[in-house]
Symmetry: C2
Subunit: 357 residues, 2 copies
């Protein structure tokens, strides 16, 4: 596995995005969002997806020069129309709107239509931190997940990210798919020819399977919980809430109509809305109590949980965001490792546009 | 198992609450919230808890005549101080504040301190529906849950409820603990002397166990996901978010300091805040798009999911809220069944206060 510097992968990604017609500023921002996934160890959502965005552009499903704008608003809410632009650009725009709303009204809530894949959920939620705000980021996604008792794929892995500032401690950053496992984890098993644990996937008949390729064969990812006895109906509830906040509130496509990012699915010919949807929230912590007081108690929360007695065989109890932050520091220093298929994919992409990796 | 009419159980509960000193209006409201759990089949949170509230009152942990009030606010947020009142009364007050905020600012968000157990989360979320608003209800709870890799109990079952209005379809009502199973489900197994499935409980050493009494023996409930491989870190993230929104934002006790409702635990002698915490949200759907448009699309969402092809052996795919609504209609008509230990418990309580069941 070869390693690449952040700067090299950033420049490469930006050049590719300039080549598909993105303005300078958008290409920079999109490359930054994309690379934040590689840095934080969410390898499935980083440069590994660059050729996917290009594929969507080739199919006319991405507008490289969108007029991203607020189409509806109240003091604490807005709908943002992404005009078919890259989700990597639309999402930070919408999160900024939420932050501006929160400055005046205490909180800001923005639902987005006419967008597409927005990278890692956590990037957008974390934008709130420097403003002493709690950030929330949700999105719907390719329909690959079956609700409890369903054979059909009706939902995406629909992630939830919540970032909460602390004082001297690093922030709390939760960033999770509402399925047992994200699709990226399956891709790793597929490449290694390994089985998946039961509870991750069901086959085309709705029977639990260990086949890591089960989803490509017509099966589905399973909601967090895995089966009814272990609470899969709760993962289904969470994925549904993300879908409705992201797409029914905004006017995007919801449920099985969500336009897919994966290459093996085509968009529904009869959409019920415009593009993919997201949902963002920003809450000023001092809209509830003085910021310093809140952040001191967050420090106490974090240090108390970090010092919880671990189960023998485990070193320590982690705080959400710990593993990603440690990896980010390490990879910024020592480089980002890319597996061979991703490196090959990027080189093919580079040749297509005359950009050298 | 004997059945009781809604009216009989309501009157009994109200009489008991009047006897501990609640004003007429509060006793009515609290009994109504309590009974809504019995009607909806969440038997663990209904009249089965009445003697628990009385036990807290006897210990001086409930103020029957509280001055519940807004202690801090912005256009879209507020903190409510419950003044040690019944959560069953404090929570509807706070949800009303959220709804009033939403009427003006588009959304309203209220964090609550100095409260205690608030009954079923769904009751409060559903208050938003008649206003064409989405309702959100969260609370922290007795520390009985261990984060992933932790031997210590640090969180409650910390439920999330979200209620979303539709047009001709009944509303979407998600109401879920952020653990694999709620404590009430364990209590049912305990009474029947049955084992729990692996993934619900760990023992005092942090080892997965099927002992349904494991939590009482120093073990813990497990976060949704059950184990790391099946995403227990995600249940831990969700439970933590509920804890922080409910208690760190408001100034209540968080994490292991949350004052317990269960009889086998005592409150921490060194609290970090005031009482238990809740968090409520109300979002006007027409703060995003015209209400009729939103609700028509919700109808489409619901009917599409309800018609998803079921797995052989399962009759149909359910919409969150379906089972509880059906049970509510049935129990209102045919009565509420109480298991013997709960009936006995109520009769003992009745004798203490001279109230006949």
């Amino acid at each position: 596995m070869n390693k690449f510097t952040y700067q090299d992968l950033f420049s490469f990604s930006k050049q590719i995005l300039l080549n598909i017609g993105c303005p300078e500023e958008d290409a920079s921002l999109a490359a930054k969002v994309l690379l934040s996934a590689d840095l934080r160890g969410v390898d499935s959502h980083g440069v590994a997806r660059l050729s996917g965005y290009v594929r969507l552009w080739e199919k006319g499903r991405i507008n490289p020069t969108p007029n991203v704008h607020v189409s509806y608003e109240t003091p604490s809410t807005a709908v943002v129309d992404g005009d078919g632009g890259l989700g990597l650009v639309v999402a930070p725009f919408a999160m900024k709107v939420a932050i501006e709303k929160a400055k005046k009204a205490g909180t800001g809530w923005v639902s987005v239509k006419n967008s597409n894949h927005y990278g890692i959920a956590g990037y957008h939620a974390m934008m709130a931190l420097e403003h002493d705000m709690i950030g929330i980021s949700l999105t719907n996604a390719s329909p690959l997940v079956s609700p409890t008792f369903s054979k059909e794929r009706m939902l995406g892995t629909n992630p939830i990210s919540v970032a909460i500032p602390a004082k001297n401690q690093p922030p709390f950053v939760g960033d999770m798919a509402t399925t047992t496992a994200a699709n990226g984890k399956l891709e790793i098993l597929q490449r290694k020819n390994l089985d998946a644990p039961l509870g991750w996937v069901q086959d085309a008949e709705g029977i639990p399977t260990t086949d890591a390729n089960g989803v490509k064969k017509g099966g589905a990812l399973l909601p967090l919980g895995g089966d009814r006895e272990h609470g899969s109906h709760k993962g289904y509830i969470l994925g549904s809430i993300v879908d409705i906040f992201s797409a029914v509130l905004s006017g995007a496509n919801y449920g099985p109509w969500a336009p897919p990012f994966v290459a093996f699915l085509e968009p529904d010919p009869n959409p019920v809305g415009e593009g993919l949807g997201h949902f963002f929230g920003a809450m000023r912590v001092d809209a509830f109590r003085p910021a310093d007081e809140f952040k001191s108690h967050m420090d106490n929360w974090i240090s108390r949980f970090r010092s919880a007695e671990p189960i023998p065989g485990h070193e320590k109890v982690l705080i959400p965001g710990d593993p990603e932050r440690e990896l980010e520091a390490e990879r910024m220093e020592n480089g980002i490792p890319l597996i061979k298929p991703v490196e090959d994919d990027l080189r093919v992409l580079g040749e297509k546009f005359g950009v050298v990796l």
